[in-house]
């Protein structure tokens, strides 16, 4: 299959964890079409899952009627996924790097998602745009794209 060197697609999802598997399929399809290999695709999928999980759990706090958007914009070597919500804004700088040993004691996994996103993607940027919050996750295509 010929790779796509330009992608611009978006989808709106209800704020419930049942949509996470659909989000993963959506990102999987476009990351594959853009030419990423299996390992990179699974890393991008996980980072986007974590961003969406944060929106569902924290920005919307279980409001099932709320919606968020996942947009893929890819060109050149840049594959960017933006997750946008209109819920409570988020201050990433207030989330400390997790100490797993400490977290085991307090039985909480909070902060692991952001930590993973930063490990898995080349850049992770948070922005407030009016009433919207955006997290933009970028991964660069490093190897020669598949033919």
């Amino acid at each position: 299959m010929k790779r796509l060197d330009k992608i611009e697609e978006s989808k709106i999802y209800k704020s419930t964890t049942t949509v996470l598997s659909d989000v993963r399929s959506f990102v999987n399809e476009h990351a594959y079409n853009f030419g990423f290999g299996d390992k990179e695709i699974s890393e991008i999928i996980l980072a986007v899952d974590e961003a969406c999980t944060n929106v569902i759990k924290h920005a919307y706090k279980g409001n099932l009627e709320a919606e968020f958007e996942v947009r893929v914009i890819a060109s050149g070597i840049e594959f960017a996924v933006t997750v946008r919500d209109w819920g409570e804004s988020f201050k990433p700088e207030e989330v400390p790097v997790p100490n797993i040993k400490e977290k085991m004691k307090v039985h909480k996994a909070g902060g692991l998602g952001i930590f993973l996103m930063r490990k898995l993607m080349d850049t992770v940027e948070y922005q407030e745009k009016g009433a919207a919050n955006e997290v933009r996750l970028v991964r660069y295509l490093k190897n020669e794209p598949k033919a």
């Binding site: 996470l20 659909d22 993963r24 899952d49 999980t53 909480k108 996994a109 993973l116």
Partner: protein
């Protein structure tokens, strides 16, 4: 939708927990329920077989963190086994290999319990 299933069975003085499918924020509560039932029955020696688990996110990892302390306080452990590479990579990124015993093979993990 991506499915998730947990099967448990006794093996000597331990319980083997087999995970199947996709473990994310949607399916993690099912795993929590299984851990909490085992703890309720006083079963603290747990081997988790990951061979059929295709995906894990931090919500899934959080479940292992939530119960390990209580289990170790009761002289048990959660030992992890048979992980696919992509699942292991996520555990590795978060430093789990320093805090949990991870085995290539379930039987090796079970033997560690039978030695006690």
């Amino acid at each position: 939708m991506n499915e998730f299933k947990v099967l448990t069975r006794d093996s000597g003085n331990a319980v083997v927990m087999e995970l199947h499918g996709f473990l994310d924020a949607h399916t993690a509560p099912e795993l929590e329920k299984t851990f909490s039932e085992l703890i309720g029955k006083g079963k603290f020696n747990i081997v988790v077989n990951f061979s059929e688990l295709n995906y894990i996110s931090s919500a899934g990892l959080g479940v292992f963190m939530a119960y390990i302390d209580e289990i170790r306080t009761n002289h048990g452990d959660i030992k992890l086994a048979n992980m696919q590479q992509k699942v292991y990579n996520v555990f590795d990124l978060l430093g789990f290999p320093f805090l949990y015993e991870i085995y290539k093979d379930q039987d090796e993990a079970l033997r560690k319990f039978s030695n006690h």
